[in-house]
Symmetry: C2
Subunit: 363 residues, 2 copies
DNA sequence: TTGTACGCGTTATCAT
DNA sequence: ATGATAACGCGTACAA
């Protein structure tokens, strides 16, 4: 029988059993093995005993399906991809995508998917650089994208091909791109509500000069909350939102004093990768000889950088990174089965913190 | 020609061009396309013009190779597995395998591998529970194992099949199992050397009643270092090593006082998952109304639990988790090409800390 | 120098 | 209820 021949090619045989070998051991055809091991989705009738024999043989040989072959034949392999466009290689866990990964992992595990971390597409780190890097994700059944700098062109191609992709972080540049994001608007509104409840009447937001959707949304939350809570900006009539191109140079002790003279008692900053604006704001307040929450209140739309962990906990909100990761997986798996995606927005948890309090009585 | 037919199956065609289509556009055979696009490793002669036509056609169609098909044909998929046997699902990043993953990722990226996290094998979390869970790792070209409770039987099977596996953490129960581990012995010796240099003459080690290799190695380091540095245990002649079955019950303020009366000025504990012995030791010292480094010196063989981050930094050493991960990847890829593995031991960095100093003059 | 033919391991259709 | 058989897209001896 030709069946018994080992592969003719000299190519190194891996020790991995194939369905054909399971079939031989079980005394059935390879087709039957595929049927049994595939869970018999077609609902074809099978002898319970045949089924048992196949299962036993598979276990004995330690059979495990080849994901590549499976993907080739069935267009699915139970793998979810994670591709991250972090700017620099994360030496510190906090700066990486690991917090998201916690949720991704948990939800993927719950749904029986394994994860592929596409790190190898780019020896060196900056993944977006290598032209075809993103294409490699097609190995997985679907993929999660993380980071701001995803190459739009390559991404559009994936989406247009109908490849299931979910971006973590709101996106609107690609119309058909699924995404999940933190509800920055709502969270910002809540922060402003709390500040108003404490008695503040005028506030400013310091943000970076950046067009990231996260920044846009936080500004929108700030503005919406400002209005909704009946607050106002500086009495001089200036814009309550400051876009700092160079935070250190612009957010100075003098700047703080000037705003205070314009009746501002609450200073809000946005979280960014580097924490630059929050750092600048803290430094400026320190430099002005003021301190929160006694002389003024500070709030941070997001979490403080890790190296500022010893400072008082900022009032603000936490980005639910793990929850976002989990939500992304849910949207992705929904996409896989052609279902409609969930609500893409995940709520942020308000963090009382210690940098906000009633405005000083003098003002 | 049958070649021109679109696929007969009704299965949804992905919009991605195949080599055959590139071939048709370029007016050559699919083989030639494969040859040209594959970089022509075999050194087969090709018309420069043919080559150019193929390249042009490929670019025009936006051709990218299907990784699954490539893997199927070439029998490698550029995937490294990571399987972790963490006891409970890690909610806190510090308790998980993420610190190792940092190094794993970096090294894998450097070597052009992607990573597969086998989380889906175990809906719910405890992976070792699901019988065939470990088998799934065969999906990758090789796999990293993490955690103390790897099921020996399943593991033996992989190793015997010649499947490349590297365990993170020393192991000697399976003779052919490759591993990388922290050099606890050397690190422990160094800690004792420092304590001796500070003037201590008698020391004890508190460890858990556990047979993990890490615990064994740390004890060995302590004992070796004790002798090498000319130190001794309690003057009463008791064993300088205490195995605490129930740390809280055994490591009491009285116990500390008794050891001190026996001339012990340096108290060493080992790091464990829970940090139980270190916690107990700290509590006992506090309870005895003593404090380090004035009344006695404390050292920790490992890192303190994250929730004790506000306590003074313990003298001791840090387990180079990222370095271990990277080393594991190097050993694994060496295995893949049949090369000999590196040195499996990775040095720990001594951490001066703030809990050790000269012994009190009175003693 | 290029094309033919086949195998990689799986799924799926269609006979039996 | 089970077994042939044909794809899936690519790599590669071997033939032309």
């Amino acid at each position: 029988m030709a069946e018994d021949n080992p592969p003719r090619t000299a190519k190194a045989r891996r020790g991995r059993p194939r369905q054909a070998e399971v079939a031989r051991l079980a005394g059935v055809s390879q087709t039957t093995v595929s049927l049994v091991l595939g869970g018999n989705k077609q609902g074809i009738a099978l002898h319970a005993e045949t089924r048992a024999r196949v299962l036993a043989a598979a276990r004995e040989l330690g059979y495990v399906p080849d994901p590549a072959a499976r993907r080739l034949a069935a267009s699915r392999n139970n793998l979810l991809g994670v591709f991250s466009f972090t700017a620099t290689f994360p030496t510190a866990v906090e700066h990486s995508y690991y917090p998201f990964l916690v949720g991704v992992e948990q939800e993927a595990a719950a749904q029986g998917f394994d994860l592929v971390l596409f790190t190898g597409s780019s020896p060196g780190g900056a993944q977006a650089d290598v032209p075809g890097a993103l294409e490699r994700v097609r190995l997985a059944d679907g993929c999660l994208l993380l980071g701001r700098h995803a190459p739009t062109a390559a991404l559009r191609r994936l989406v247009e091909d109908g490849y299931p992709v979910v971006h973590i972080g709101r996106r609107d540049d690609l119309s058909d791109l699924a995404w999940v994001g933190a509800d920055y608007v709502d969270a910002g509104v809540e922060v402003m509500r709390r500040l108003a409840a404490l008695g503040h009447r005028r506030a400013v937001l310091v943000r970076e000069d950046d067009d990231a959707t996260a920044s846009i949304d936080r500004e929108r939350g700030f503005r919406t909350g400002l209005t909704a809570a009946g607050l106002a900006g500086p009495s001089g009539g200036g814009d309550p939102v400051v876009r700092a191109v160079d935070p250190v140079a612009e957010i100075t002790p003098d700047w703080v004093r000037e705003r205070r003279e314009e009746g501002v008692t609450a200073f809000v900053a946005e979280e960014t990768d580097t924490g630059a604006v929050w750092r600048a704001l803290l430094a400026a307040v320190d430099g002005a000889g003021l301190s929160a929450p006694d002389d003024l209140s500070l709030a941070l739309l997001g979490s403080p950088p890790a190296d500022l962990a010893d400072r008082p906990e900022p009032t603000g909100f936490d980005i639910p990174r793990a929850a976002l990761g989990a939500a992304a997986v849910r949207v992705l798996t929904a996409l896989l089965v052609g279902a409609k995606a969930d609500e893409p927005l995940v709520a942020c948890a308000f963090r009382a913190g210690a940098t906000a309090g009633p405005p000083p009585a003098a003002l």
